[in-house]
Symmetry: C2
Subunit: 339 residues, 2 copies
DNA sequence: TATCAACACGAAACCGTTTTCGAAGGGTAA
DNA sequence: TTACCCTTCGAAAACGGTTTCGTGTTGATA
């Protein structure tokens, strides 16, 4: 095992000082050409690479960014993550990921761990528990320390920082409008409880689209499930009970399960009932029929988040101006709606 | 913005030396109770947290592990990653992820970047290009520097290091055996070219199972596609051409696409033709019918990889012994086969 | 009273860099 | 010869910790 070579080794070997080596390797004007040549040749020969940790300590910059997401096994988050990683890498940053597992405590612990010098800034989507608790002190502490923070998708108004979200309301509005244009009258919404910021917005868009097109908003056509996991029985019972000819679902799983259920009852999609789901993920693409989806442009979202963060990190001046970028959704039409 | 507080600040404020503060905060026996109490109280009050970077520099240990995978938007890799992250976090390690995008160059660059002190060890799955090029010098360099490395799933015999794979051959063998027990005779395999170590193994298992059950191995029942992306036309043409009553696919996408195709031709699954796909991912669960799958236990794989790596990192003695852990597959039966 | 151990703390080296500032040495101009 | 400047390099501080070793003070013991 070869030990990593340091400036000190080179200096000793060539009988010069450490500072000279450092400067020579940076091609400083201060050092004579002869000495620089000698040192650079030696460094190349022994494959010298400066130690990142030492540089980080010196610069108080790690070139790492911390990403905290509820779960990595989730198509939308992974696409966002890919956007982050791509942009960050191109800018010379590495990405440390932590999963909060939708747990408040894990979110807090991970943030505290990373905030002690390991990263230059955070990009995160809030955990479910955090949103329910409505406790954002850990975010406040971080921002007060001057660590830049960008929130995406699952955000909160309680914290002042850069944010990037999709226009959830508009996405739902578009979807419902499409249903209406297709002649649907009994349009249902399957969603989660209101503590998810995104669910609230989507519910708003759903309602608004109905009202704007002179259709009644009826509570009984809205199914609110307590958690993200699929409560199959509740969905089945809902679909069986209500007279419905179109369903908007806030995630793919709800939609896919619903489609299977109505298919098993002999209904035809999209003739008898049609579906649109949020998140243009892998399930939408491969289901039978394909699920028309509201695309959230996750990768773009990640890029924007990373761009915002890195700009804050690298801007010298300490401006207290924060912006929220809102991405428009697009509807990806597939077999679950008439096109 | 509050500046981060350091030992030096505390020392100055309390008129003691830095070393005293350091020791007091570690509850050293050397320091009197009075002084310790005073210092600890002060530290708590100002929320002192030691700087990770400084500690890393001192200890030559970062408590970071680097994970390099071809793509994060890939269900199997994300499950492995979750396993890694969970185990690593529990052991106090953070995880830095890089994506190679199946590119040799990106893999090399990312490794070199991280190898300069940012991480204590690597966990990785080889990129497609790397496997095709068969060039592993970047891995050799890393191991020669004494940086521990664990390879998973996409591995190579060229490098001596810890490895963890699933028993791909046995998985395919089990699947084909199930087909045969179900009375299938014309069993096809849809796979990728042989440079993926996993595809090779699976093809072996497929062949062996046929031979062991006195069925002929016929080249024309094996479709080899050049890349991981789904060449729909080639698959359709293959399915239409050959007389087939069962199909083993090396990934979910091939299987789902195949199922859709035969369904669109009016065939019934599993009566006329049945399917098994590798990777028990999200598509298998939500397809119609559900796809019987060979589970690769990704999360467990990740845990094991992380465990192996951390053990190597933390073991003082420099043993040159490497092991390969082989995980058994299990078949998750769903509607695409008769059960 | 001299000796010595125990106690409590500080000085300094170290991890691997970067960077400021000072200085030696040679050359040029007065 | 003296004064001064330029080139080229090194010493040292700094980033924020840990750790070894030394030292001054106290109290007990011979």
């Amino acid at each position: 095992m070869k030990q990593k070579i340091t400036l000190k080794h080179i200096a000793r070997e060539l009988s010069v000082s450490i500072s000279t080596v450092s400067k020579a390797l940076k091609n400083s004007e201060e050092i004579s050409k002869d000495t620089k040549d000698k040192i650079q040749a030696f460094a190349k020969l022994y494959n010298y690479k400066p130690n990142n940790i030492a540089i980080s300590l010196k610069n108080r910059r790690t070139k790492n960014i911390g990403v905290i997401i509820p779960d990595i096994v989730h198509h939308f988050f992974t696409t966002v993550f890919r956007g982050i990683e791509n942009y960050a890498n191109a800018k010379g940053y590495n990405v440390i990921v932590c999963m909060s597992d939708e747990s408040f405590d894990k979110e807090v612990i991970n943030m505290e761990l990373l905030a002690n010098g390991s990263i230059d800034g955070f990009i995160m989507a809030l955990s479910a528990e955090t949103q329910i608790k409505n406790d954002y002190n850990h975010l406040k502490e971080v921002t007060e320390q001057g660590i830049p923070l960008v929130l995406f998708d699952r955000i909160t108004d309680e914290i002042e920082c850069d944010k990037v979200v999709i226009n959830d309301m508009e996405g739902a509005y578009k979807a419902v409008t499409k249903f209406i244009e297709d002649g649907r009258k009994q349009i249902a919404l399957i969603t989660t409880e209101d503590y998810y910021s995104v669910s609230r917005e989507r519910a708003k868009g759903y309602k608004q689209a109905l009202l704007d097109h002179n259709l009644p908003y009826r509570e009984n056509l809205v199914l609110k499930l307590p958690f993200m996991d699929v409560d199959e029985l509740a969905i089945n019972e809902f679909l069986d009970r209500e007279k419905i000819d179109a369903v908007l679902c806030v995630n793919e799983m709800y939609a896919i399960h619903s489609m299977r259920h109505v298919q098993s009852k002999g209904l035809s999609i999209p003739k008898d009932i049609s579906f649109i789901g949020f998140t243009d993920g892998i399930l939408s693409k491969y289901s039978t029929p394909g699920l028309t989806a509201v695309s959230q442009h996750g990768e773009r979202m990640g890029e924007i988040a990373a761009e915002m963060l890195i700009e804050k990190i690298e801007s010298e001046k300490e401006e207290e101006s924060y912006k929220t970028t809102v991405l428009d959704t697009t509807i990806v039409a597939r077999g679950s709606t008439n096109n």
